[in-house]
């Protein structure tokens, strides 16, 4: 295996790569961490945080972002999304293209939903809109960046063992 494979590709057999159940658990964890970061972003905008709360928020944000990065990277390795497009075979490219198309559609819906919410929210206090801007932008960005990854991790079947492993 090359250096690239050692770093970016999970070996076979590897439990996360091979098991759809494990990958789905990681997907759920990824979504929960993303939502937790969004909530924390909203909490940060609340007035008069104080030293203790600011410190806790900073630590919490760093911890969550670190956890998000680890989960995202592991899922990327397990679904070959860390591999460059040129190194994928035709089936993998077809799967990735399909997941990317779905990701674009989901992003469009998310942006439209946010836009609609802003239009409706014109009747809401301005402070609420400014408090929610960052969390909503974070969620939309995550939807765009992560949907292909999460879709592939969720839908790929368990890896079939090779004949030599039977």
């Amino acid at each position: 295996m090359s250096f690239f494979d050692d770093v970016f590709v999970l070996p076979h057999p590897h439990r996360l790569r091979a098991s759809r159940t494990r990958r789905r658990c990681y997907v759920v964890l990824h979504v929960l961490i993303t939502l937790a970061v969004a909530v924390l972003m909203w909490v940060v905008t609340l007035p008069d945080p104080g030293m203790v709360r600011s410190g806790l928020q900073a630590v919490g944000m760093l911890g969550l972002l670190g956890a998000w990065f680890v989960v995202h990277a592991r899922l990327g390795q397990a679904t070959d999304l860390m591999v460059s497009y040129q190194r994928l075979d035709e089936r993998q490219r077809t799967e990735l293209d399909r997941a990317t198309r779905i990701g674009h559609n989901v992003t469009s819906v998310s942006i439209f939903a946010a836009f609609s919410a802003v239009v409706v929210g014109a009747f809401l206090p301005v402070s609420l809109i400014s408090e929610l801007a960052m969390p909503v932008l974070w969620v939309i960005y995550m939807v765009h960046a992560s949907t292909p990854l999460l879709l592939l991790a969720w839908t790929r079947p368990n890896e079939a063992p090779d004949d030599e492993e039977l």
Partner: protein, 93 residues
């Protein structure tokens, strides 16, 4: 993942490949077994991921023309021996 048997039980009748209404039967698994070739060996020879060979055998992915021709060339048989739009005839009939 369960596979479906063809009408007369030979060749893998696939679950239709994603996004395709076409059913393509193949005998990749049989040819591999005859020649004692593992999925990894075939995958390495074709330059594809070893899981892709499994997808091909189960009919969950329809190969491009180029890949189909390379598979046939690897087994040294005509492409019609490997792939068909009709179920393969049962051996012995």
């Amino acid at each position: 993942m369960p596979t479906e048997r063809g009408a007369n039980g030979t060749g893998r009748r696939p679950r239709a490949a994603a996004g395709s209404g076409e059913t393509i039967y193949n005998r990749i698994a049989m040819l591999r077994a005859e020649r004692n070739v593992s999925r990894r060996q075939l995958a390495e020879a074709l330059g594809v991921h070893y899981q892709t060979v499994g997808y091909l055998e189960r009919g969950e992915y329809s190969p491009s023309l180029h890949l189909a021709l390379r598979i046939a060339r690897y087994f040294e048989v005509p492409v019609e021996v490997v792939f068909s739009t009709e179920p393969f005839p049962r051996i012995g009939q």
